[in-house]
C-alpha cells in the first residue's frame, strides 16, 4: 500500500537523517532557499551566537560587511571595545523589538527619551548598548557624539547589505515605560539603575515578534530593496528569566516562540526571508549535548564549525564542494610612517642620552 512517506526523501525520516548518520553528517539545512555568493555583502546582528556566524563568514572569505570599525589608533583594543563583533558596534541585539528600534533610530524615525545611564562610578553608558564601551563614556556629550557616528554606520550598513543574518535571542526584555524603548539588558545589570516605575518587563509572543521583524525588514527594504533576511535562533540558553518560574521552562518557551516566529516569517515571505537551522544543529539530540560547553549555555567551536559547514553546503553558491578561503588578514595597526616615527623617536632618545 502506497503512502506519502514511502516516496519521501531520506532527510525527512528521523532514523535515516538523525539517528543513523555520524554526528557531523546531520544536516537539517537541506533545501535552504538562498545561495550566497562571495560578492554578496553579508551583515550580522542579533544575540551573541551571531558573533560566531560573522567570524566564520569572514574566515571563509565571504564579503562580511562591517561599517563601523575601530580607528587604527585603537586597533589593539578593538575587540574589548566591541568593534567587529558584529557589522556595527551595536553589541548584542537580543530581541526583534530592539532590532526594529535600532533600524528606526538609524533612519531617524525614533529617538528614545532615555538618552544615557550613569554608573557604575561617574561614567556614562548607552542604554541601548551598555557593554560596548569598557569603562563607559566620560560625558553625555561624548556618548551622544559616539552614538551619532554609530547610527550613521548602521544606516550605511542597512543601505549596503545584501543579506542580514539576524539571530533571534530572547523573548524576554525590559522596556522604558515612557516610550517603549527596548533595552538589551535590564537597567542595573551592567550599568544604570533599575526603577520599577520606569522600567517594564515584557515577554513577547509569536505575533509581536513576527510584526517587529516584518516592520524592520520593511524599513530596511525601503532604503535597500535588494535586502534579504536570514533568521537563526540562538541555541544559547537564557541566563535568567524574569518570569516567576524555573529558568528551564522559560528557556523552552522562549526558544519555541522564536522558532515559530522564524518559521512563520520564512513561510510568509519566501522571497525575502529564510530560516537557517543552526539552532537544530547545536541543540539537536544527534550531538548528545556535545556542542554545549560545561556552563550548559555556551556553544563549542566544533558546534560552530558544524553550523558553518552546513551553511557553506546549503546556503552558498559553492555548494558541497565549497572550499573556504581565509579572508585577507586585517591591516596592521602601524603604517610605515609610524614605524619610522618610532625609530625617529628612539634615535632622538639615543642622541639625547649621548648629550648630542
Amino acid at each position: 500500500m502506497r503512502h506519502p512517506y514511502a516516496e519521501a526523501p531520506s532527510y525527512t525520516k528521523w532514523r535515516h537523517a538523525v539517528a543513523a548518520p555520524a554526528m557531523a553528517e546531520v544536516d537539517p539545512a537541506v533545501g535552504f532557499p538562498f545561495r550566497l555568493t562571495r560578492q554578496d555583502r553579508v551583515a550580522t546582528a542579533g544575540s551573541c551566537f551571531a558573533q560566531h556566524i560573522g567570524r566564520s563568514l569572514k574566515a571563509q572569505g565571504f564579503a562580511y560587511l562591517v561599517t563601523e570599525t575601530a580607528h587604527p589608533f585603537i586597533a589593539n583594543v578593538a575587540g574589548p571595545c566591541a568593534y567587529e563583533q558584529f557589522s556595527a558596534r551595536y553589541g548584542n541585539v537580543y530581541t526583534a523589538r530592539q532590532m526594529l528600534q535600532l533600524v528606526q533610530r538609524a533612519l531617524g524615525l525614533f529617538e528614545p527619551a532615555d538618552r544615557a545611564w550613569t554608573g557604575p562610578g561617574e561614567a556614562v553608558y548607552d542604554p541601548y548598548r551598555p557593554t560596548v564601551q569598557p569603562g563607559g563614556f566620560i560625558s553625555v556629550a561624548e556618548l551622544e557624539a559616539d552614538r551619532a557616528r554609530h547610527l550613521a554606520c548602521v544606516r550605511r550598513l542597512l543601505e549596503e547589505l545584501d543579506y542580514l543574518v539576524f539571530t533571534l535571542g530572547l523573548t524576554e526584555a525590559w522596556i522604558s515605560a515612557e516610550d517603549g524603548a527596548a533595552y538589551p539588558l535590564c537597567p542595573g545589570v551592567a550599568a544604570g539603575r533599575f526603577d520599577p516605575d520606569r522600567h517594564l518587563f515584557v515577554n513577547s509572543g509569536v505575533d509581536a515578534i513576527v510584526a517587529d521583524v516584518e516592520a524592520f525588514l520593511a524599513l530596511i527594504r525601503s532604503v535597500n530593496p535588494r535586502a534579504r533576511l536570514i533568521l537563526t535562533v540562538s541555541p544559547v540558553a537564557l541566563a535568567a528569566t524574569a518570569e516567576d518560574r524555573h529558568v528551564l521552562a522559560s528557556n523552552t518557551y522562549s526558544k519555541a516562540v522564536l522558532r515559530v516566529a522564524a518559521e512563520t516569517l520564512a513561510r510568509r515571505h519566501p522571497e525575502e526571508v529564510a530560516y537557517f537551522p543552526s539552532y537544530e544543529i547545536i541543540s539537536g539530540i544527534h550531538n548528545r549535548g556535545s556542542y554545549i560547553l560545561d556552563d550548559l549555555r555556551s556553544v563549542s567551536e566544533a558546534g560552530v564549525a558544524h553550523v558553518m559547514a552546513s551553511f557553506a553546503r546549503n546556503a552558498t553558491e559553492q555548494g558541497p564542494e565549497f572550499c573556504p578561503v581565509p579572508a585577507a588578514a586585517a591591516p596592521p595597526r602601524r603604517s610605515a610612517l609610524f614605524d619610522d616615527l618610532s625609530r625617529l623617536v628612539k634615535a632622538e632618545c639615543d642622541e639625547a642620552m649621548l648629550g648630542a
Partner: protein, 242 residues
Amino acid sequence: MADILLIGHSHTQSIVQALQARSAAVGWGVVGMPSGANPVVATGEGYRLDPGVAAGLRRQVGPETLCISTIAGNAHNVLALMATEPPFDFMTPGGAEPVSPRAELVPYASVRLSFRTILDEGDLSMLHATGLAVPEMRYHLESPPPLRDGDLIRSRMDQYFIQTYPEAQVADSWLRLKMWRLHSALFAEACETLGIAFLPAPPEAVDPDGFLRPEFAHETSSTHANVAYGALVADQIERLTR
C-alpha cells in the same frame, strides 16, 4: 655613592648637562637604562628587571641615596607626534582642550585602554620592575610637555624622516598635549601603586595652556627639552633634598 641617583633614559640628559654647568651642592649619579630592548623579564612572580641590569643598579645605591626615575617618557610621541590618517581626536574628562571638528572622535576610555595596554607591555613594566629592584626609588619625573608649534617640531626633526615623508603632518597641537597628559596620568597611576611620588614638569617651563615654552625646546630633537629645562628640573630635585 651619589647622594642623588637618576635612573632612566634620555630625558635624564638635559638634567645632567645642567648639573655639569654648576657646582652641585650634592653628589649626583646617573644610571642609563638600556635603550634598546626592554630590560624586563617575565618570571613566575611577574615582571622583573633582568638580573644583570638589576645588580648593576643595586651597586649604585647606598643607604642614603635618593633614587629618582626618569624612565621612558616618550611613548606619547611615538604614538601621536605625527597626524594619523584619518585624523583622530578625543575628549578628556576635564574637557579643557578643544576637539578637532575634522577628526574622528574616539572615546576617551578606548584611547586610555589602548595606551595603557601598550605602556603595560613596555614602559610601565620597566618602571614597575625597576621599582621592585630599587625600593629606594622615591620619585618619578614627568617627561617634558610637547611644544605647541608644529613648524618648530619639524625643524628639530631628522631631515631624513622629513624627506621620506614630505606629506606627513605634525599632529594637532591639542591632540599632542592630550596624549602627553594621558601618558602622565598613566605613569602617575603606576607610581601611586609603587608608592613613588610623581614629580610634575617645572611650571616655569610650561605656558598657560600646558605646552612647553619654545625657549625650552631642544636644539636638535623634536621630542626632548633643552639644558635650561634640565636646570629647572635639577632645581626641583635639589629642593627635595633640603
